[in-house]
Amino acid sequence: MSYEILGISVLWFFLYGYLIVASVDFGAGFFHFYNKISHQDYQVNKLIQRYLSPVWEVTNVFLVFFFVGIIGFFPDTAYYYGTALLIPGSISIVLIAIRGSYYAFNTYGSKDSKIYSFLYGMSGLLIPASFTIVLTISEGGYLDVSDGNVTLLLGELLTSTYSWSVVVLAIVSVLFISAAFLTYYAYKAGDDASYTLFRRYTLWWAFPTILASMLIFFSISRHNPEHFSNMLDMSWMFILSLLFFLGAVYLIYSKKKLGLAFVLVMLQFFSAWFGYGASHLPYLLYPHLTVNDGFVNETMAIALILAFIAGLLLLIPSLVFLMRLFLFDADYVRGKR
């Protein structure tokens, strides 16, 4: 495997990690707010807090890892995306800032506030929507690159079916992933009321998720036919994704093996995510920038890869420790610690 492909795969993998943990996080924030205003069971919200409190900061680091890594491995992305994304990027920053800090204010402050809960619940849903703009732009057709200047064609972006279908998919996936995880978590906590509620949410959001995915296939075939034909060459990955999805929904519907069901959801997104990513290659920004010409010099690439391996050796045991204390510790999950 070339360094370019290794680099982008590692980064893509971390972005996948962010996709999953952040979806659980953002969805949970939204459900927390929604349950609060609809006066559903107080128990549910306690459960959400118990999961979220120790881990939210870790979630954020996945994101930081991605954008620091992409500048490290592909410095030219700074030039293309940096210039074009000033406004959407700044809006994402504001949303992240509001989400993270109001989450902390609400959780660690002295009392649970409805305004704070609203702020972090809603901003959490908007963040995935605003991030997907980067993926949309990478398909090409939304940037004007001429005489050393890169500008975003905002009009094109806002009127494109493709960009809106990505936004819709982002929002519904967040709710689906999160609900599937919380179903399992509630079940483990032995919290029947929460379990019933989240199971209903999961089944409820399953259909829109698959519908939105179909919409993406359709709109990408019109927006970027070259990419679409690459996707067809890898169609087995997307078919696999569909099978995982059906398996997950079946298990949750028949109330069996909920842990496995969530793993299937993760695999569903894993195969779709890597199918999408692989078919996008070699472009980082269609048609201006490829992984080959945007790649960092070899010395730095090797240094980054070594640092990465050393970092993983440090992090993996620590993450396992964290999960054993909070995620897989039956007493903690049940609220006994």
């Binding site: 120790p54 902390a104 980054l304």
Partner: protein, 450 residues
Amino acid sequence: MFMEYDPAMFSRMLTGLTLGFHIIFATIGVGVPLMIALAEWMGIRKNDEHYRLLARRWARGFVVTVAVGVVTGTAIGLQLNLLWPNFMQLAGQTISLPLFMEVFAFFFEAIFLGIYLYTWDRFKSKFRHFLLVIPVVIGASFSAFFITTVNAFMNAPQGFELVDGVITDINPLAAMFNPATPTKTAHVIITCYLTSAFVLGMIGAFKMLKGDRHVYHKKAIRLTMTAAFIFSIGTVIIGDFSGKYLAEYQPEKLAAAEWHFETEDAAPLVVGGFLSDDEEVNYALEIPYALSILAHGDPNSEVTGLDQFAEEDTAPLFVHYLFDSMVFIGMYLAFVSMLYLLLSWKKKNWMHHKLLLWGIVAGGPLSILAIEFGWVFAEIGRQPWILYDIMRTPEGATTSKHVDAMLYLFIGLYALLGISSSIVLRKMFKDNPAAQEMEQRGIDERGNKS
């Protein structure tokens, strides 16, 4: 607006705004874990629950400041790419290694912070819980180290060759360990510790002034002021080395900070004063030989002045005020903490005198001001370069037409975050005062648990 739109100018303002806001929380984020660790360790060693409670309460407030630190840090990380795409393109080739390692340090810190906060009573042995704070201290200090090497690189770039705009011969380790790295990282990290000690000391002193004279607060002041004294001596010494670094590698920065116009031997140090329009220094105190000592450690050595540089290559002269204020505050902090220690040793009934307590309270905001002054001096003093002697600041900037709107957006955001976080912090400790918590946890006057 009353000035012409210049994206580079607005990018500088926005970068300065975000970093200036981030640095407050970042400083606390680096220093407070160390203080928490000290308090918890004292609690275990002396078997005194007061110290453990200190650690617990500091940690609780710390979570709120960390949250703001994390989100503003994420903001600056993204903003550097949005506002300085050309600079980051070059930096990505040369200095991305420590940036990348910084993320691992954060990761490590974030994981253990989560564990530390939620396991106070989970282990049988108190010592095991204490062990969990060590990775937090290490992670925080290393992230400060790594990010500061990036800034050091901006001041003393090396580890690559630039031939006709093409970068070759890259050596990531040489870039990271450049001549500015030792003094810069040491000064930044120790001032984080110093500031955190004073900010925490301020809380205890303020409570005492409000009439709550519980020994819990006295112990807090004792711990923080002892630490602060050690750190302030360290700060002054390393600050002196930083001056020597400047004299060697960035003499125009030192000359601008000291209003040192003519190159001369046995140079005097200009303290305070005002600059008239025709660059005459008025009302300043001149200490003979002191600049030569600061620059080279020898009273008769030659110190390069501004006359050796073209005017467009030097920084604005107002950095002198920033530098002097920082040094003054450094002396003040060392003085207050030393006075406290002297009194607690020789004249115990004066050690909680009102004046001294007020002096400690003032040390909190002053130390944060010194951090701000120091950074603004370091960054503006580097001007006109974003990468010293290689890339001028406007060359690194974005060409986008909307940086001004983003500046106003972020002013709004930081105002909101600043206000909310102070309200939350105040309420947190007001609704649950230390005395009440001691009663709930059954901790008596001597720090024993019943």
